[in-house]
């Protein structure tokens, strides 16, 4: 798409797009290409020598259980984070939309956690939930007798990481749901009320169906967030442990590449992740296009 009224200049447009394209080339295309090449090479840890090994790196990944465990944990972690933060966000948005007084104060109180960095969120929640010095950890063990020890137990570690990762995402979802709720015409709600539908019936029969586009959009955005942006949470809380229980795919790229210095394996994982993101983005783009058509 282009404007009807345009400027003519043989050089200027290239000068204008150059900064973005140079940075894109240097920090996107070159590294992506490099990962693609490296995925087929076997290198020593110092990157001095390497040999072409075809699909060895991929084969090595898929022959061992670690990668599948990471895939499964990433799936569990990201769907749990998405579902938890979506339901909380929706619940708070519906409540905040009902009240008349203190509207903006309530909104601010529900929005500010968005500003917390995932890494900081990890530190705060670890301090809260730690089995030996956290207050929540203490009450889980002493009062609820839960046998809470996320430092050693995989499932509990996963719960802890999901809570920390969901925190800022609840605010994110809240913002979008409030927008979605306000876009629903008042007249539809009033018509249903005149027909005798109570508030809860109105929510499930009218409001919720009208929110489904927002819901699907947010679901993909939350998955993308949970898969790609939660490195900080995991690095500060569990370092992928215990026993690989919280090692997500992105964390594994880091752990194998920078800690384990296995360049080929890390590159092969990068390639797999790139393929996944390309699929997700394409689906998302299709979906957005459809939304535009029906809007």
């Amino acid at each position: 798409m282009i404007k009807k009224s345009i400027f003519k200049n043989p050089v200027l447009p290239y000068v204008l797009v150059a900064p973005q394209l140079i940075i894109t080339f240097l920090f996107f295309f070159w590294p992506a290409g490099k990962a693609l090449v490296q995925a087929f090479l076997l290198s020593d840890p110092f990157g001095q020598s390497s040999q072409f090994v075809w699909f060895e790196n991929f084969k090595f990944l898929f022959e061992r259980p670690e990668y599948f465990v990471a895939m499964k944990q990433t799936f569990l972690f990201s769907t749990a984070t998405a579902l938890f933060s979506l339901s909380c966000g929706l619940f708070f948005a519906v409540l905040a939309n009902r009240i008349i007084r203190f509207k903006s104060t309530v909104r601010t109180a529900l929005i500010w956690p968005y500003a917390i960095a995932p890494a900081m969120s990890g530190i705060l929640w670890l301090f809260l939930m730690h089995p030996s010095f956290g207050v929540a950890g203490y009450y889980f063990n002493e009062i609820l007798k839960l046998d809470w020890n996320p430092v050693l137990k995989e499932n509990q570690a996963l719960v802890m990481v999901v809570l920390a990762a969901s925190w800022k995402q609840i605010s994110y979802n809240f913002v979008f749901f409030i927008g979605g709720l306000q876009a629903i015409p008042k007249s539809v709600i009033e018509a249903a009320a005149i027909d005798g539908a109570g508030p809860i019936r109105r929510f499930w029969s009218i409001v919720f169906p009208l929110l489904t586009p927002t819901l699907f959009f947010l679901f993909t955005m939350n998955l993308v967030y949970a898969v790609f942006d939660t490195f900080g949470v995991i690095h500060t809380m569990t370092q992928g442990g215990p026993g690989g229980g919280t090692t997500t795919l992105v964390y594994k790229v880091y752990a194998d590449g920078f800690v384990g210095l296995d360049l080929g394996s890390s590159a092969a994982q990068s390639v797999i992740l790139m393929i996944i993101t390309i699929i997700v983005t394409t689906i998302q783009f299709r979906y957005i296009e459809r939304k535009v058509q029906y809007a």
Partner: protein, 294 residues
Amino acid sequence: MIEKTPWLDRLTVLFLILGIAGLCFPLYYTFVAATLTLEQVSRVPMPMIPGNQFFHNAMIAMQKGDLGHKMFNSFLVALGITVGKISISMLSAFAMTYFNFPFRKLAFWMIFFTLMVPVEVRILPTYEVVSNVLSPINQILGWAHIQVNLNWSMLDSYSGLILPLVCSATATFLFRQFFLTVPDELCEAAKIDGLGPMQFFWHILLPLSRTNIAALTVIIFVFGWNQYLWPLLVTTKPEMQTAIIGIQGLIPKMDEMPEWHVAMAGSILVMLPPVLVVIFMQRWFVKGLIENEK
């Protein structure tokens, strides 16, 4: 309200209070820890009433973690990412909407591709490029059998922290979308008045884009301040680290004194700038958040 539902209204208020309390509790808890002494913070369970040691603890955190300097770094990096992202994407969006040139489509798709590959996915090869920004030139000349060994490392530098995060397809698309809605008459009038393209950009498009720029600034600033993985990789010198990495260094390790009160006082200081930005620029923030994702 349509009908009177006193019990439902009460439940609404009750759950809202519970929800806000739940969302704010980790921050309250952090704040309480930041105001206690070492002896109080080590008690299990920790007291839930704030003490009076906050400024003392904050001073120790500032000194121990060199937080003043690191917060300055964070500020520079966040500002650099914000200014860089907005300027390069405005310029390229301007080129793609107001000029018709060969390779216009190609440029569009090249930028679109960056949507698909976040930095987290390709950290190792990007790290290699940053450790020698001229390595692609070495390699390309190497294919032409010209041996060169140019070397320019961006590790431990502001440019290394900023540039790889500057590229943004979303900001470019946002401005492209906005420029497409600007009336054509403005451009016609400008041309009749003898304005060149850059004058048109500077005097007409830029002022029109003010609200979009404000909204994006809030979002990108928070994004930049909160970066973790990338600063962790490209900085090794303490004086180049950002504030959040600095906090990581304050967290007590297994065999150290459990000085959580100092770590938490530091955390409060480091979390404050983005939280204040979101609270006081909430209108722009909400607008930016919703538009940035479209």
